[in-house]
Subunit: 123 residues, 2 copies
DNA sequence: TCCTTTCATCGAAGGATGTCGATGCAACGC
DNA sequence: GCGTTGCATCGACATCCTTCGATGAAAGGA
């Protein structure tokens, strides 16, 4: 679990950063650099908390799914929501995704600025 | 050079995406998953157009720098700004970075929503 | 207690990635 | 034309990453 970056990096006007910040940021981008892991994150973002067993629909072996969940978990992007019986449910960590969007120059949160107006977000 | 994604992926409320979109997005995140490449992008974002020769301050060999520039170029994140004599100057492609921020749930552009209000960006 | 279910971890194999020296190549200046 | 400078490409090597089967471990149910 790493601390969440709060600096812009890659957007015009960003301040020059230090080597350590490049390490931290790149390690989190690396967590999103695999299509399987993006599919997992997208599932958690769109559907909500999801049981690990649901991810076998991705067509990969169970250890492989577990491996990707571990990488996303260690990057701080997801976390265990709760456990019921032998099931484990994961959930998204919105602040972590938000921090990455901010590093890329995106506004912190549309809702904080203009309520949830779908019409204004899409162009 | 790939088309720039315009969909949200990893933010709460994002729609379920298709396999091809995970491939496209992850390949661009992969371009940002290396600290050297983040340093290059940060340089272009903060200082502006930069000659390739400036990047030898990163302490890597010239072929290695050229390799990373190629990856960023093929991801559409940077491009050749102009050439003078034997120098090659690279520039950032803000729309590409913006599209990635949007995929992570960041607002398309702060200016488009609420002008540049520093007070609201920092928390 | 014993078995089943679910998930995490381990170890190994194959492919991808970062790095370098050597080489190629285009733009100058002489 | 000839040498120099700056950058891209090539080939090679070490390392990392993705994937799998096998195994371990915890929670229940019979």
């Amino acid at each position: 679990m790493k601390k969440i970056a709060t600096v812009t990096c890659c957007s015009p006007g960003a301040p020059p950063l230090r080597a350590k910040e490049f390490e931290d940021l790149s390690s989190r981008f690396k967590a999103l650099s695999d299509p399987t892991r993006l599919a997992i994150v997208n599932r958690l973002a769109s559907v909500g908390d999801t049981c690990v067993c649901e991810f076998n629909s991705l067509g990969l072996s169970q250890p492989t799914i577990s491996h990707h969940l571990r990488i996303l978990r260690e990057a701080g992007l997801i976390e265990v929501a709760h456990k019921r019986k032998t099931w484990v449910f994961y959930r998204l960590v919105p602040e972590a995704v938000e921090a990455l969007a901010f590093a890329l120059g995106g506004a912190p949160q549309p809702e904080l600025v203009l309520a949830t107006a779908e019409g204004t977000v899409a162009r």
